[in-house]
Amino acid sequence: MRLAEAWRVALDALRANRLRSLLTMLGVVIGVAAVVALVGIGTGTKQQIEQQVEGLGSNLLLVVPGRLQAGAAPTSSPLTMDDVDAISRVVGDRSRVAVTINSGETVRAGSRSGFASMQGVLETTPTVFVRRLDRGAYLTRTDVSTGRRVAVLGAGVAGDLFGDVDPIGRQITIGGVRFRVIGTFERLGQSLGVDRDGEVHVPVTAAQRLLGTERIDGLAIRAPDRERIDDLSAAVVATLTDRHPDTDFSAVTQEQILGVLGDILGVLTGVLAAIAGISLLVGGVGVSNIMLVSVRERTKEIGLRKAVGARPRDIGVQFLLEAVLLTTTGGVLGMLLGGVTALLVDRLSPVPAALTWWSMALAFGVSAAVGIVFGVVPAQRAGRLDPVVALRTE
């Protein structure tokens, strides 16, 4: 039998039971749609996070006290500005070193108030990280060395406190202390689940005075090139360990962060896909079931076909194609449904989603495979039917 003819027969058989075929397909449609949509969401999230981590700037080395491992207790930081000076000497360029001390504070301007993440920083922050200003200017070295009470507002904070009014030159209070606004950041949106537009940058010295502390929470260093990151990392950690023998220090690069996040998200996407895959499996069982019913219903037809010369293989192929046609049609519909769902999620919700050709190809391949796997048993059963018995069936 020619394959084209076998396809035609399979199509005819499915058309003869339109509603049943559609309902059977539905299981596969939903399964494939779930796989495509969930993998799309997983991939989209991963891409977004990677972009954001990359958006921090390249060749970045983050240094924090304590060990970076799950379950490690947070260490209180022993770092001070003296350490920063020491690290700057190791790096050989102060403009490549950024620091931060964080504190959540209430900010006020006139009658308006809000909650912001105050970050005590050096004037180097915009060059170490990639951070663009919308208006005004960033902190200067003098601001930092004199502990001047000036602030650069994140777009969210600026909006909350001033609305459409230009905030440059205006007064705000942070934790009850007066600061003057000298600049605002471009809007950034969420990053790693943190609202980065809610930051307020002030000189690290001013922040330390406000909080009544000498400490700084962490350091970031921008290496001159990728090759030197590892050496630099080792030198920095050695210097800090030398100065604070009781504390562990960890230095991580962007690649390491990306690697860890990528692994976590990869596992998450895999788990989502596997859960969706289960529904595909259930759809496959439905296909198998219906094919068995179809074989039984068409026993006489099978007997007749055999009587006029069909080989067992011809009959088997016919039923297998029917199952594959059922699942691949379901697969294509599921791909469309899943794709549209992913796009809608991406558009209408904060959850990002990205369609990848491989997830589509995989879904289609899997649906074809489901057809073959779940069609084989009914097809074999049909192929093996004894023509005499089949013809006698009423």
Partner: protein
């Protein structure tokens, strides 16, 4: 001398029903010559259909030897047997066994599907065969749009479309009224006149009498042959 179309030598067929063996045929010897015209008669349950299924390669004997077109059925693979059914034998059933929702033309062309013929060729040959059985005006009709006699003619056209040397008909007129039955019979006889061997099972003595020879079956054996 031409080889006989079918040679059955001491052929038996035993069914195994839950450990109990039922002997439907208990040693039948029969030769169908090329161009022969044989009628098989006998009481219900005597084994006529069982014999026809064996002669047509739809089933295999459990004992004895059976040669169809000179080939020993016991030595054929399932695929070879299928090919034999496709090329050498034409089978006509009492209940027609046409595919529903399928036109007369495509029903007739069905055996050609299994020899890899294209759609065009199948339709051409099916149309010619339908004209041959007097159904030129029913080419695109479906079985439920045709009378019993017309359906049986379609079935005969289907049996003939591959140009078989033997036509096996198991009570082909059993579901038809006598006038319609007569015309179907006349069709079979005209085919026989063209050289196709015809083996026919019937309960009708008159029908049987028209054959070149008659075989009477009883309890799985040939009780009389002429």
């Amino acid at each position: 001398m031409t080889t006989p179309a079918i040679v059955a030598d001491d052929v038996s067929r035993t069914y195994d029903l839950d450990g109990v063996s039922v002997a439907a045929l208990r040693g039948v010897s029969l030769t169908v010559e090329a161009g022969d015209y044989v009628a098989i008669v006998g009481t219900s349950g005597s084994g006529k259909s069982t014999l026809m299924h064996l002669l047509g390669g739809l089933d295999r004997p459990t004992g004895g030897t059976l040669l169809i077109g000179g080939r020993d059925v016991a030595k054929l693979t399932p695929d070879e047997l299928a090919e034999l059914r496709n090329t050498t034998i034409g089978f006509v059933f009492q209940s027609f066994h046409l595919l529903a929702r399928t036109t007369a033309q495509d029903n007739v062309g069905l055996p050609l599907v299994y020899r890899g013929a294209g759609r065009r060729e199948r339709r051409d040959r099916a149309t010619a065969m339908l004209e041959r059985v007097g159904l030129a005006h029913r080419i695109t009709h479906r079985p439920n749009q045709m009378s019993g006699g017309e359906q049986q003619r379609v079935a005969i056209a289907r049996a003939l479309v591959t140009g078989p040397s033997v036509l096996l008909a198991d009570e082909p007129t059993g579901n038809l009224d006598s006038a319609t039955g007569q015309s179907v019979l006349a069709l079979l006889e005209s085919l026989n006149a063209e050289g196709v061997a015809v083996v026919l099972v019937t309960h009708d003595r008159e029908v049987a009498a028209r054959a070149r020879r008659q075989i009477v079956m009883k309890d799985g054996l040939i009780s009389a042959a002429g």
